[in-house]
């Protein structure tokens, strides 16, 4: 049950609140329990047609020929839509905020880049007739080598997944192939740390599996407008995306949504609306495009896979003195929102701890897997899993209690974060203390007395001298050095940390090297916004 710990930070807060701490009914509850809440599919429209797509059977292939002759003659077929029928058949979701290049067609034209990519849309009188017509579409593929692993995708000679990004990495600020975070001298700190621990973590893609599958119904309205019932989680975002793809002003559309049968991030990609509207435009009839369950699970965008390497330096007394992270986000074949996930991930490093030397490289990588998208805390979730596993292992390594180890390393008010922002309103220490109390986990007195508001700042507020990447030879390749953590008892774990010789030349740095005095601002999505 919910318990508000009003004793903590009591002086920072006005507890005379009208809503917080009091139960309140959801405004949509009555609709939900009576079944009158209106989801996108709960609209019965006269003469509605059904849209289904022909999906690629190949993970990576050139399309030699598409033959729809037989499908066009199939019973009940009203319209076959090809890539050439889509007014602007190349888009990237975040182009609405000028972030990233258009890299994804609504319907594939010359090439497919993941298994399940839509190639042809068929609008028919019934779903059955659409399915029958789909079976009659003939597509001649020339299979291409595919790549399914983020690190394989970065190797020289790897198949180019998406020609918009020939290096298989998203390009930040039209220059950088990954997000970088530099704070202090991690390599020097690792060299003098009592223990060094490097571990590899990874997470598989996760499907949101909403009970309501993705879908939209579009219908011609008066004055040349279209009314669109949609499952989108991001209504205005979807309106603008459709306006761009269909090359019409956004006021052409009247979007109705907001009641979503489970989204969790899986309903922001605006996959069904553009084709449903285009179907309605081309036939003059209401058109429904709704994913079947297998489509949702197989081809609906998941939380992307991630692979993370963490190399930490820790002192015998438990202080983490260096954290070096290399993370790869598997974007799948197209960008969607993974570029932003990588930004968020970099912004999150090194977790809620004050570590004086932090070094992070975060890549958004293209592979021939289903394009990934948003999902609850994406960019942070897997990294937090990795960091917290790592914290447990570090605590074990130095023989410390894992709760106390976290309190010792937790950030406190006034500390300098790796992004050169002062930590404010921190509360990790209190969270750990309450968690320990609830779990009846014994903490020593000094850790019970610790506070986020005490002992921060001062020397912890200093931005350390930070060598620039161009000031030394640096490897951009994975450092495969492994710790002995899993094999040897903690007392003998003392690995001389060393940087291996560079295996590839350092990347060119067209921008002036970042000064080391802290003026570098962490790059964000919105920092690149063109006004």
């Amino acid at each position: 049950m919910l318990e508000l710990r009003k004793d903590i930070f009591a002086d920072e807060r006005d507890d005379n609140l009208n809503e917080i701490g009091k139960g309140t009914q959801r405004q949509d509850m009555l609709g939900h329990v009576t079944g009158t809440s209106s989801f996108f599919n709960d609209h019965k429209l006269q003469g509605m047609l059904h849209l289904k797509v022909v999906r690629s059977t190949q993970a990576h292939a050139r399309i030699r020929r598409i033959d729809t002759t037989e499908a066009e003659r199939s019973a009940g077929v009203r319209r076959i839509i090809r890539g050439a029928d889509v007014p602007v058949n190349l888009n990237t979701l975040l182009s609405l905020i000028n972030f990233g290049k258009d890299d994804e067609p609504s319907l594939a034209v010359d090439k497919v880049r993941y298994k399940g990519e839509p190639i042809i849309a068929i609008v028919a009188d019934s779903e059955r007739e659409a399915f029958e017509a789909i079976a009659k579409v003939k597509i001649d593929y020339e299979p291409l080598p595919a790549v399914f692993d983020v690190e394989d995708a970065l190797k020289p000679g790897a198949p180019v997944v998406n020609e918009t990004y020939p290096k298989n990495t998203f390009t930040y600020h039209e220059t950088y192939d990954h997000q970088r975070l530099r704070f202090g001298d991690a390599d020097a700190a690792l060299a003098t740390a009592d223990h060094v621990l490097e571990q590899r973590y990874q997470m598989s893609p996760i499907e949101h599996a909403p009970t309501e599958t993705n879908g939209a119904i579009a219908a011609p309205d008066t004055n040349g407008r279209y009314v669109v019932y949609t499952s989108t989680q991001a209504l205005f975002f979807s309106v603008d995306t459709c306006a761009k793809i269909l090359d019409v002003p956004s006021n052409t559309f009247h979007f109705i949504g907001g009641t979503v049968g489970g989204g969790f991030g899986g309903k922001v990609d605006t996959l069904t609306e553009p084709l449903a509207i285009l179907g309605a435009m081309l036939t003059g009839r209401p058109v429904r495009y709704m994913f079947g369950r297998e489509e949702e699970m197989q081809y609906g965008p998941p939380r992307g896979a991630e692979r993370i390497y963490i190399k930490d330096g820790v002192m015998r007394d438990g202080r983490v003195v260096a954290r070096k992270i290399r993370a790869y986000f598997d974007s799948g074949a197209y960008t969607r929102l993974s570029s932003y996930a990588a930004v968020k991930c970099a912004a999150h490093l090194p977790g809620p701890y004050t570590i004086p030397n932090v070094y992070g490289d975060v890549y958004c990588v293209f592979t021939n897997r289903t394009p990934a998208t948003a999902m609850r805390g994406f960019g942070v979730t897997a990294m937090d899993f990795a960091i917290e596993c790592q914290m447990d292992k570090l605590a074990h390594l130095v023989g410390m209690d894992p709760m106390e180890f976290r309190i010792l390393n937790a950030y406190r008010d006034g500390d300098m974060k790796a992004h050169r922002r002062e930590a404010k309103n921190t509360a990790l220490i209190e969270c750990v203390q309450v968690a320990a109390e609830k779990a009846k986990w014994p903490l020593r007195e000094e850790f019970k007395r610790a506070s986020s508001r005490k002992d921060g700042g001062g020397s912890r507020a200093v931005i350390p001298p930070t060598p620039t990447d161009s000031s030394r030879a640096r490897s951009t390749n994975p450092v495969q050095q492994r710790t002995s953590y899993d094999r040897l008892p903690p007392t003998v774990t003392r690995e001389p940390p060393r940087e291996p010789p560079p295996t590839v030349p350092p990347p060119p740095s067209p921008r002036p090297a970042a000064p080391s005095h802290g003026a570098t601002r962490f790059s964000s999505v919105f920092g690149t916004r063109r006004r």
């Binding site: 009914q25 609709g31 809440s37």
Partner: protein
């Protein structure tokens, strides 16, 4: 295309429709009767959002061939309210925060009704078993289980 005439009781009311061959009961209810309370979730029997009662028995309407319900009595969430008042299960779901997105709610309520109609005072394990074919992706099952137990408790004391 020849249509098949079909008559059945829908929430106590006699209805007659014409269906295409192979039409499932979910489509018949939603698109021909206009009862939007049963939802499409998977079409496979995996999620329970389309659950309805046929002659008091819980079935998945998406896997039921429409014409097999000829002459039978169908209950959906649309018929659960008692006049202007909420059914005790509906009230309990609302009071116990047993709905978030609301999409699984119609199926959950029908599964719960199938249970309580037969077993007015179920154990917690019986409630869990009764909704084991219904998937909820956001509320979490605990509030739903608590709501059903609360409704059952209310019924006993009433």
């Amino acid at each position: 295309m020849s249509k098949i005439p079909l008559q059945f009781r829908h929430n106590g009311r006699e209805v007659a429709i014409f269906v295409d061959g192979g039409t499932n009961l979910l489509v018949a209810l939603r698109e021909l009767i206009g009862d939007m309370t049963p939802k499409f979730g998977c079409g496979q029997g995996g999620c329970g959002t389309c659950s309805v009662l046929v002659d008091g028995e819980l079935v998945l309407s998406c896997l039921t061939l429409a014409e097999t319900v000829a002459g039978r009595s169908i209950e959906t969430l649309d018929g659960m309210k008692q006049g202007p008042n909420l059914h005790p299960l509906q009230r309990a779901f609302a009071d116990n925060f047993a709905a978030q997105c609301g999409y699984c709610t119609p199926g959950m309520l029908m599964a719960a009704k199938a249970l309580l109609d037969r077993n007015p005072s179920p154990s917690r394990d019986e409630v869990i078993e009764a909704i084991s074919g219904n998937i909820c992706r956001c509320t979490g099952y605990e509030p739903i289980i608590n709501a059903i137990l609360a409704a059952a408790g209310g019924r006993i004391s009433a």
